[in-house]
């Protein structure tokens, strides 16, 4: 018997072929998933007219199916992101020349507000499968994919780059083939980072799935059956109750994902950490227990394990010393080619925009960008003022932190755009200024990143430093400034970067909000892009998205990166 896949190792001493109680549970999980996939997958081959003719129903009884379809889109996108990460990061880590292009590109892709590009990609995918739902489905999946893939790719790339040299040498000296080494060393080493980032991606993805299911192409709106379309219709029909049902369905789905998918994954990933958890607390998961104890999963997983053991590829050879082989001229030629291609693409895009948009509008767009930036900055400051003290208080109380930390992570996963209608109703009823009151929506879903990072930071704050501060009677404002804030700074900055990035993206959805026929519009770059999208004005979409990307990149480079380095200088 080969014992490769970790899921195969436990429970090996029991009677091998006797089903147990865990098998029943596992059977339910496995075949439930299978049935769902087959049902959802079959629907995608239907002709497009079906979707247009079967409108979305606001009946709450339709919600389970919608939720399933939405979930399937998410999982497909997550799988695509994973495969993309493995390929892209491997290429970047193995080839120096590819790395020169791929990594900066990834950095920029992370900053592009993908929501703005939705109308382009939909047209592209529909062209691939004319008249089929599959095209629109793929467009939606692609939109989600663009919100999930980049951080997972970075995580895998960083794992590959930080692989301990002795493990690399051991793999080579025992002459593992590249394929075997990839699955036996590269991937396992990256598992903890990948799992964590997949969780983050999934959280972020819900926001996009809600925005990507009801897609306008020119004058027609195609609504894919799903929670997002359900919410869009509810908004159009001014049905607050239906929005509530959708929210409830979403909460159930997110909770189920956490229990059935991510908790088991986190508990399973514990194995791939080099050292045991310092406090000895291991993540637990009932679902993982079920999987480990059932024979059914073992049978299902074993082919995967065998695939990884295939001896594909040549035996390893010498590794040349860095710099031992390098051709300066080839490097320069490569660089010249890149510069040429980049310039050409920039000119093409530029001339496309200039042909349609008067130059003075460029300044207006930058002005709108500044307005949106002001919103992001003010909101981040307000959210920090609220959540940093609260997060510290929670983090310093271990029992409370243990209970509230999952809640904060859970809230970060709830797509804020489902809650928007409630806010819009209030703003419309009290006739509030949309320029001010639409703004909080931008940070509604992303503020939680600040909270749970601060909680983590405070919980990790060394006990003896707190004791020392207490011993020297450091208190009040001085305690915050000299003791706690510098201690949680790296965590806070990480949370704020995520929250800030998410808020820029959310601006596209949050600066224009509607409730039935009422449409509230704030002045800002997000509204500019949203309006251009509705009008199908590709040049203006391009301009808006480009300017927003520039803002995000500058924001990261000028503010966050120095802050992050400063916060980490003592580590």
């Amino acid at each position: 018997m080969t014992q490769h896949h970790p899921a195969l190792t436990a429970g090996g001493h029991r009677g091998r072929f006797l089903p147990n109680i865990w098998d029943v549970l596992a059977f339910a999980i496995l075949f439930g998933l299978l049935a769902g996939v087959m049902h959802g997958g079959g629907e995608t081959m239907a002709p497009l007219t079906d979707v247009v003719q079967t409108p979305i129903s606001l009946d709450p009884r339709a919600l389970p199916e919608y939720a399933l379809r939405t979930l399937l889109r998410m999982l497909t996108a997550l799988l695509a992101s994973l495969l993309f990460s493995l390929a892209y990061a491997t290429l970047a880590a193995r080839s120096r020349r590819a790395e020169m292009v791929l990594i900066p590109l990834l950095d920029i892709l992370q900053s592009v507000p993908v929501l703005g590009f939705l109308s382009f990609t939909v047209a592209g995918f529909m062209g691939l499968f004319p008249g089929r739902v599959l095209g629109v489905e793929l467009a939606a999946v692609f939109a989600i994919f663009t919100s999930q893939a980049w951080n997972m790719t970075f995580s895998f790339y960083q794992s590959l780059k930080s692989l301990p040299s002795e493990l690399d040498e051991a793999a080579r000296s025992f002459r593992l083939t590249p394929w075997r080494r990839f699955w036996g060393l590269d991937v396992p080493f990256a598992v903890p980072g990948l799992v964590w980032n997949a969780m983050m991606s999934m959280s972020g993805g819900w926001f996009f799935v809600v925005a990507a299911e009801a897609i306008s192409v020119g004058n027609t709106t195609i609504s894919l059956p799903g929670i997002g379309s359900y919410v869009a219709l509810a908004i159009e029909k001014r049905d607050l109750g239906a929005v509530g049902y959708a929210l409830a369905a979403m909460l159930v789905v997110i909770l189920a994902c956490d229990q059935v998918m991510f908790r088991p994954l986190v508990a399973w990933a514990e194995r791939f950490h080099a050292e045991a958890a310092p406090d000895g607390s291991l993540p637990r998961s009932w679902a993982l227990r079920a999987i480990r104890r059932s024979r059914l999963f073992a049978l299902a997983f074993s082919p995967i394990g065998r695939l990884g053991r295939l001896r594909l590829g040549r035996l390893p050879r010498f590794q040349r010393l860095s710099g031992a082989w390098q051709s300066r001229w080839a490097d320069r030629a490569w660089l010249a080619l890149l510069v040429f291609a980049g310039t050409y693409a920039a000119l093409e895009a530029g001339s496309f925009v200039i042909a349609a948009v008067p130059p003075s509008e460029g300044l207006t767009v930058i002005g709108l960008g500044l307005l949106t930036m002001l919103r992001v900055v003010v909101l981040l400051a307000l959210a920090s003022l609220l959540w940093v003290p609260l997060g510290v208080m929670i983090g310093l109380r271990p029992r409370l932190a243990m209970r509230l930390q999952p809640l904060a992570q859970f809230l970060a996963a709830v797509p804020a755009n489902i809650v928007f209608p409630f806010a819009v109703v209030l703003i419309a009823r009290f006739d509030l200024n949309p320029d001010i009151w639409l703004s909080p929506l931008m940070i509604l879903g992303t503020q939680w990143y600040i909270l749970f990072n601060v909680i983590a930071g405070a919980a990790a704050f060394p006990r003896d430093l707190r004791d020392a501060a207490a011993n020297f009677r450091v208190g009040g404002w001085r305690w915050w400034r000299k003791v706690m804030l510098p201690g949680i700074m790296p965590y806070y900055v990480t949370g704020a970067i995520t929250a800030g990035g998410g808020s820029w993206n959310a601006a596209i959805v949050a600066e224009v909000a509607s409730w039935g026929s009422t449409t509230l519009t704030a002045h800002g770059l997000g509204a500019y892009i949203a309006q251009a999208t509705v009008a199908g004005d590709k040049a203006r979409i391009m301009l808006g998205v480009a300017v927003m990307s520039l803002f995000v990149i500058l924001f990261n480079r000028v503010l966050w990166r120095p802050l992050f380095d400063r916060a980490n200088r003592f580590n």
Partner: protein, 440 residues
């Protein structure tokens, strides 16, 4: 071990090996130069030297993990072009895969061999049994102590039944007691002929370990790494550490390691021996002033301020690799003298010990300025500039004309810490600037 030894072709033959690192614009760093090595069946060969003498690099070249810059490396008569069959390596940091159990880790060693699952399992269990890991088959590395982890490392290498087992400082990450247990276990298996290997090649910086285990020791000199001497150790196993012949060999190796033989064409003043490089280009070790003061005080407490280095190392629980940099720094500063494996406090050294804090600092500052050229340079630059400030870059760049980036970084860190203690200058790690300011 057997008479067949000379009849067969050597396992490893290395001729005229040269290894150079180059990185960007920095001058090439010569790691190994003119190294010759032959390993025959049935022997344990030790590569002994200070850190940075290139002995681990040599091991990796033999293993086929690293391509030599120049030279002829042969494994069983054939040129080495990559990790070779029949060679297995044991790593200093164990290099176990954390997500595999003990047994899976051991089976990994046979991955490249065409062995069926059942046979693989049988051999893995046999190796686990041999090395004393029975009962730990299903444990994960993180559940094991360091000693047990290294046993897994040994089992993983042995399971291949390699003709040559390479050991890269296999005991140096373990505590003293554990290391000794593992050494004796390994030697016992070797003497009893139960190790499924023909020869062992071991890198170490522990002199006693080399004398305890090896049939032959190649002593490496530093910068660049060369084989300075080859010493045959004909003591029968099991060897006794207290045996006078054993002690003699250890003393001899200690003396050889402290008396650096100057490289051809290089004239090194006797007092700077051990510290590589000359003038501004001296590569300074990272040694804290507390440790320097501590060693001087230890010496002052001994008769004539003199001590035998092996004794001193044993008393202070310091390995050669830790003790020598301290001793050599004292020698550089003329606070002590090194000769024939002995260290003696100088008059200035004794004055330092007898002084109060301020006087100590003054004395230390004087000696730094006189005997460590780079410290003199920093001070001169600061004095000459009207702002009395200089960015760290100013000195890093100058140092990197003589040494690698890493060596320059270490040297400058020592300069900063010694200069701060001597109150010769201040350094701000935020702005990365040297200055003459007193911190307010």
């Amino acid at each position: 071990m057997t008479d067949l030894r000379d009849a067969t072709a050597p396992l490893v033959e290395v001729k005229d090996l040269r290894q150079v690192y180059h990185k960007g614009d920095a001058p090439d760093l010569l790691v190994l130069d003119g190294v010759e090595l032959t390993i025959r069946e049935g022997e344990i060969v030790g590569l002994l030297g200070r850190s940075g003498s290139g002995k681990s690099t040599l091991l990796r070249i033999v293993a086929g993990l690293l391509a030599p810059t120049k030279g002829d490396v042969r494994w069983c008569g054939k040129p080495v072009e990559g990790p070779g069959e029949g060679i297995a390596m044991v790593f200093q940091s164990f290099a176990l895969f954390p997500w595999l159990t003990v047994q899976q880790n051991v089976e990994l060693g046979m991955e490249a061999l065409d062995i069926g699952a059942a046979e693989r399992r049988r051999r893995a269990l046999a190796a686990i049994d041999l090395i004393g890991l029975d009962g730990f088959e299903n444990a994960y590395p993180k559940e094991l102590s360091g000693g047990m982890r290294q046993r897994v490392g040994f089992a993983r290498a042995l399971v291949v039944h390699p003709r040559l087992m390479l050991l890269d400082e296999p005991f140096s990450a373990l505590d003293v007691l554990t290391a000794e247990t593992l050494r004796t276990d390994l030697i016992d298996l070797w003497i009893e002929g139960r190790l499924p290997v023909r020869s062992l090649l071991m890198v170490t910086h522990n002199i006693e370990e080399a004398v305890l285990m090896c049939d032959r020791v190649l002593l490496f000199s530093n910068n660049p790494g060369r084989v300075a001497a080859e010493i045959a150790i004909d003591l029968p196993h099991p060897r006794q550490r207290l045996d006078p012949t054993f002690r003699e060999l250890v003393d001899d190796l200690y003396a050889r390691m402290t008396n650096r033989t100057p490289a051809a064409g290089e004239t090194s003043r006797a007092t700077d021996e051990g510290i590589p490089g000359t003038g501004i280009g001296m590569i300074l070790p990272r040694v804290s002033t507390n440790v320097l003061a501590g060693l001087m005080e230890t010496l002052a407490a001994r008769p004539d301020g003199r001590a035998d280095l092996p004794d001193l190392g044993a008393a202070l629980q310091l390995e050669v690799d830790q003790l020598l940099p301290i001793a050599e720094t004292l020698q550089l500063l003329r606070f002590a003298e090194l000769a024939d494996g002995d260290i003696t406090l100088t008059d200035d050294g004794r004055r330092f010990v007898d002084s109060e804090v301020d006087e100590r600092k003054r004395l230390f500052a004087d000696h730094l300025l006189t005997y460590v050229p780079i410290v003199g340079l920093v001070r001169r630059v600061l004095d000459e500039r009207s702002s009395h400030r200089a960015h760290r870059r100013r000195f890093t760049e100058e140092l990197e004309d003589f040494m690698s980036e890493e060596a320059a970084e270490n040297t400058l860190r020592s300069v900063i810490s010694w200069g701060r203690y001597a109150e010769l200058f201040a350094y701000d790690s935020q702005s990365r600037e040297f200055s003459l300011e007193d911190p307010a």
